[in-house]
């Protein structure tokens, strides 16, 4: 499409690269550490995102399980790899057809990633009303939030630059 007449602004590319790398590194512990802690009168359980997916699936909630799996595991990794690929190919000046469409796709699906962060926010709010059970967001949810912010910044810098150049 238009990628050949785009002379990338090197600064923006390196800025986006920094955020992408940060998001990639944060993504690892975000999946390893517990996402939320549930307490129910003496009984407590910590769950990572993967535990949550498994529990939902075992409980027959396979639609919710799929949404959580897509939103928090598959889409973020796809988005990060795409961003990394776009940025590196631009920095190295490798011509890749469809790079612009890939960026648009990343921007589009990005909105659907981390839906489960909202899911947890809703659950925490709901369960807080109960007197016995409590649900607390754990360290991994903050790490996920970090991944979201870094990814958003990276793709925003990239698309800003894209749009700016295009006008």
């Amino acid at each position: 499409m238009h990628q050949h007449d785009l002379r990338p602004n090197q600064h923006n590319l390196y800025r986006a690269l920094a955020f992408t790398l940060a998001a990639m590194v944060l993504y690892v512990p975000a999946n390893l550490y517990p996402f939320m802690t549930m307490r129910y009168s003496g009984l407590y359980k910590q769950a990572t995102v993967w535990d949550g997916v498994k529990t939902l699936y075992d409980g027959g909630e396979w639609i919710t399980a799929t949404i959580v799996l897509m939103a928090s595991i598959i889409i973020p990794i796809f988005k990060l790899i795409s961003l990394f690929f776009i940025i590196v190919s631009r920095i190295l000046n490798i011509a890749v057809a469809e790079r612009a469409s890939l960026l648009m796709l990343v921007d589009f699906i990005g909105r659907w990633s981390m839906l489960d962060v909202f899911l947890v926010a809703i659950m925490v709010a709901l369960v807080k009303f109960g007197s016995f059970a409590t649900v607390n967001a754990d360290i991994a949810s903050y790490l996920f939030a970090g991944v979201v912010v870094c990814t958003m910044l990276a793709s925003a810098i990239l698309s800003l630059q894209y749009k700016g150049k295009h006008k």
């Binding site: 600064h11 940060a22 590194v25 390893l32």
Partner: protein, 272 residues
């Protein structure tokens, strides 16, 4: 120029995020202990990802899977233990399942009614292994290990059970352990543990009397000094010790004493 500074700041921020992320990943990896397998006859009320392994109430691991092994006809429990715990888990470590207990005079581990059972561990240092065989019963109370172990020979058990109290002037100074037959198969041999601090109460001339069941109620109505224990001994049985004087030497580990049955005690009392 400002562009370079902004880019530099962004890189410094992102690099610090990377350092934090990498440190967290490393900590996770470092704390990740090995998976151990413990076999039990019965999985009881253990729940994967929820039941813990505890050492004196402190969590040292979490149960990941519970499977039935056909070959050995046992339940295999896989658990991930912490790396610190690994150092203490020698091959002789004892594991047992803690469940709620309700008996006539004792209620314990009630919290497990809500949380489900858990596995308790008594770590014994040694070379680390991955496979353990769980105990079906909690191991002997470590307090008992240091106590004076003697044997009682009796014609009748008369309601004595494990953990029945041994009383001295109404004070519990020990408890009954395992029971079996004597070698000649003519009487029962009862293991008795006298708590360490009371070991000097039992002398060569001490007499043991069974105060279980009816005898206790007999005393109950007779208004004797056994009244306080009688309800308890009625339920669980019990043995009373009397030491007429402290002139003789202390009982040694492994000494065997005779036990007067309830009927014999009654006869003696009626005579006097």
């Amino acid at each position: 120029m400002t562009k370079i500074i902004v880019t530099l700041i962004i890189w410094i921020v992102c690099l610090s995020i990377i350092v934090v992320g990498a440190a967290l990943t490393y900590t996770w990896y470092k704390n990740l202990g090995p998976i151990i397998k413990i076999s039990f006859k019965d999985g009881d009320d253990l729940i994967p990802d929820q039941s813990h392994i505890r050492f004196r109430g402190v969590e040292v691991g979490i149960i990941k899977a519970i499977e039935y092994d056909q070959a050995s006809n046992r339940i295999i429990i896989s658990a991930r233990i912490t790396r610190q715990a690994m150092k203490y888990l020698g091959k002789d470590s004892q594991f047992w399942i803690v469940k709620p207990r309700l008996s006539f005079d004792q209620v314990s581990n009630l919290s497990t009614l809500v949380t489900g059972d858990y596995i308790a561990v008594n770590p014994i240092k040694g070379s680390f292994v991955n496979n353990f065989i769980g105990l079906e019963e909690p191991p002997i109370n470590p307090d008992l290990a240091s106590s004076l172990k003697i044997y009682l020979r009796s014609n009748e058990l008369e309601g004595l059970t494990e953990e029945s109290p041994i009383l001295y002037h109404g004070l519990q100074i020990g408890e009954i352990g395992a029971m079996g037959l004597t070698q000649d198969k003519r009487a029962v041999l009862i293991t008795a543990y006298i708590y360490k601090q009371f070991a000097n109460v039992v002398r060569r001339n001490s007499t043991f009397a069974n105060i279980s069941g009816l005898h206790a109620s007999f005393h109950l109505f007779g208004g004797s000094h056994f009244d306080m224990e009688s309800i308890r001994t009625l339920m669980r049985g019990g043995i009373s010790v009397t030491t007429p004087n402290f002139n003789l030497s202390q009982a040694k580990v492994g000494d065997v004493f005779g036990v007067l049955t309830a009927a014999q005690v009654r006869e003696l009392e009626e005579e006097s």
